[in-house]
């Protein structure tokens, strides 16, 4: 064979390629490799829990020592779930799962019917029974069949073997669970390929068009309910309800009124719209020497938006709406409802924050150099999330299949009983005493089945030796550890 390889230069390369393929498949079929991937996936996932995701780099430098912050940014821990390494690990797990399924799960879980050395199996026992062979066989078959075991018989090496299987179909549980994972992955891939999502905010009395669908949503009003409740720690202002009353114009041009609540999204042409946030848009008036500054403010602005201060390079950011100003402290009170409202404004010189102020609505604030800022009336706005996800049915099916697979593989214990009936020791032809050799295997090892095996053996002994009949045999433990 070596000579043949030498004569064919491509053969060596082919052999090396085959060996590499075999090694790679063996690696991916190794349970410890899969568990190592799980460990890396778990650690990366946990890092994402501990490290704030998607923040500005300055946030990490404020939160951690510089070296740690640099490490967080360089290793992409700030956006870990979308990092190539993270997605790659999930990809490797899926490959490992597929290879394990075909190389390990299927062959190991669906073993062929074969003869075994009963006394070498860790779970083994021998029951001695009297009678003719056919009666003993019939008793054994009846015993297992009546307990839900399926019986198959094979003649192997001139000996008749009885194979009793319980929950044989459940041997596919792991396979089912793995298929569930693959279906979920397929469903999420369909979303990545064909789905979309986005956020939009609508100020009461205005409307917006969703770019991907052309649907038009007009917000008639946003309503909220916040209830003050006495607790042991004081009054808590508990949000009870957030509701957007909207008029929707769908793809067919039909317009209708509806409401969107938290936990109650609406469906427009297959795209779902969710109540996500709300806020207070405020009309700001910016003046210089008593005259409006042209082009500085157009309409109400929302939290996070900025107003340029003429051409000074300075800007004002509307950071937060304060429902109730605490008159004693001059700061924000705990009640978020707009009883005595104000706004928190940040003042910037270029990128540099130079001050923050809480300004009551309707009051002017002197910015210096003749500039004055006056927050006026507020209007509620609603923040909506929309999402089109054609992969949902598959993800749902995949989740169901996964859970079904887990339940099958964890709770049902497929077991196989090997039964061989031989003449008992010292019997002459025709024998009247028989040694029923029993050995059991399960997909989860022997310990888990030990008690049940013991009970089965005892029950079989009782069945072959009914109490009303003279005692014909006994449970004879056989076999030493090998």
């Amino acid at each position: 064979m070596n000579g043949s390889t030498a004569l064919q230069p491509g053969g060596g390369l082919r052999a090396r390629f085959d060996e590499l393929t075999r090694d790679t498949l063996n690696l991916f079929a190794n349970v410890l490799f899969a568990v190592s991937l799980f460990a890396v996936w778990g650690v990366l996932t946990l890092i994402g829990v501990i490290v704030d995701q998607g923040k500005d780099p300055s946030v990490y430098f404020n939160a951690y020592p510089p070296a740690v912050a640099r490490m967080v940014l360089r290793l992409h821990f700030d956006n870990i779930y979308h990092d190539t390494a993270y997605v790659g690990i999930i990809g490797l797990i899926l490959i490992s799962l597929a290879v394990c399924t075909f190389k390990r799960v299927i062959p190991a879980r669906i073993p062929p019917l074969r003869a075994v050395k009963i006394e070498h199996m860790p779970l083994n026992a021998t029951v001695v029974a009297n009678g003719n062979l056919d009666d003993v066989r019939a008793t054994v078959d009846r015993f297992f069949a009546s307990r839900g075991w399926s019986i198959r018989k094979r003649e192997l090496g001139g000996v008749e073997w009885t194979f009793a299987d319980r929950h044989d179909w459940a041997r596919r549980g792991v396979l089912v669970a793995h298929i569930g994972f693959v279906i979920i992955a397929t469903g999420t891939t369909i979303y990545w390929a064909k789905g979309f999502s986005g956020n939009t905010t609508i100020v009461s009395g205005s409307k917006t068009t969703i770019p991907q669908t052309g649907a038009v949503l007009a917000l008639d009003q946003f309503r909220y309910k916040i209830q003050p409740i006495s607790t042991k720690s004081g009054i808590v202002y508990q949000p009870i309800d957030y509701v957007s009353d909207v008029h929707v114009t769908d793809g067919s041009g039909k317009t209708y009124a509806t409401t969107i609540r938290v936990n109650h999204p609406i469906d427009i042409d297959g795209t779902l719209y969710y109540q996500a946030t709300y806020g207070f848009a405020v009309d700001f008036a910016l003046t210089k020497d008593g005259a409006p500054v042209p082009g500085s403010v157009a309409g109400p602005i929302m939290e996070g938006q900025t107003i340029p201060l003429g051409r000074t390079g300075r800007a004002i950011r509307y950071r937060q709406f304060v429902g109730t100003i605490d008159r004693r402290t001059g700061g924000a009170g705990p009640d978020p409802r707009p009883n005595d409202p104000g706004v928190v404004a940040d003042f910037f010189d270029g990128d540099q924050l130079i001050g923050t102020e809480l300004i009551p609505l309707g009051k002017e604030f002197d910015l210096g150099a003749g500039y004055r800022l006056r927050p006026g009336r507020f209007t509620l706005y609603s923040g909506l999330t929309y999402r089109y996800d054609p992969g949902i049915p598959l993800v749902g099916i995949g989740a169901f299949v996964l859970v079904a697979g887990l339940i099958i593989s964890f709770y049902l214990l497929p077991a196989r009983m090997f039964v061989r009936i031989d003449p008992a020791a010292g019997q002459v032809d025709p024998p009247r005493r028989w040694a029923v050799g029993l050995a059991a295997t399960t997909v989860k090892g022997y310990d888990i089945f030990e008690d049940e095996f013991r009970e089965l053996v005892s029950a079989l002994e009782r069945e072959t030796n009914p109490p009303d009949a003279p005692r014909r045999g006994s449970l004879v433990p056989q076999g030493a550890p090998t």
Binding site: A39, W41, G42, V49, V262, G445
Partner: protein
Amino acid sequence: MTTDQILILIALSAYIMATLALLTYFLSREPFARMVGIPFAFLGCITQFVELLLRWQTTHIWPLTNLYGSLSLFSAMSVAFFIGFALRYDLWFLGGFVTALAGGFLGYALSWNEGYLPPVPALQSYWIKIHVPLVVSSYAAFMVAAVASVVYLIKYYFEQSLEGGAPMAGLSAAGAAAGAGNLGLRMQAEATGDLASLRESPATAAAAARGNALAQWLATLPSLAKLDVVTYRVTAAGVVLLAVGIVTGAMWAKEAWGAYWQWDPKETAALASWILYLGYMHLHSRRAWQGVRTSWVSVVGFLSIMFCYLGVNIWISGLHSYKM
């Protein structure tokens, strides 16, 4: 005192009594201690469920919308899980640890009891009646599994110390069982009354025969193989419950927030814990890892569950920050 407070007091007292009695049983194997401990464990568990139901009935507010309610259910479910498995596998010797932890968690839950608050809009969904009990029950199962693992490790390391630190014949439970002989030998030993031969470690059996008190006490505990199987079975229950909990949580998230996965700290930590337990289930399929190694994984898994449950709720803000 309100009925609510009286019931909590009864549950706490019952857990204290159950802990004392069942720990005594664990150490002495005195049947009387077990007979005293079991009714108290039942009483504490039932009282807690009655308290939660009463709270719901009185206020018409689902009691699991805050940390007090969920911790209270966690405590009750852990005892319920334990009772279920103890009845099936005769595990009462573990009871003292479980009721001690349940009582501790119930006591801690009281520090979060702010009274009756209506749920915030995100929690006003029928999913809360499905998702939260499932997830909290999975945590409870993992707690019972961790307790069984700790007892496994106690027995394993004590047996090692009796053998002068030398590794046991089998590192794994399966190996240990094989070292003790197969079922045939076990049955023979039981038939002849030679119970010493049932123990995994010959050195422990020898030490017990010499009158070593530690060895004699170890011999009263179930075999390492049985402890390993119990841990596996309880963990399997927890893994499935957590899987269904994560799936129902994702379905709820889809309904409430528009995406079934938001990488919120809570759901991500739950995923990390689930991955860890999947690792446990896979490792348990390898004979060399069964026993002491998987027991350690179970203990680490429970720490991860505690981080997911309490650490994320209390220290890390996110979409699941429902303390009150």
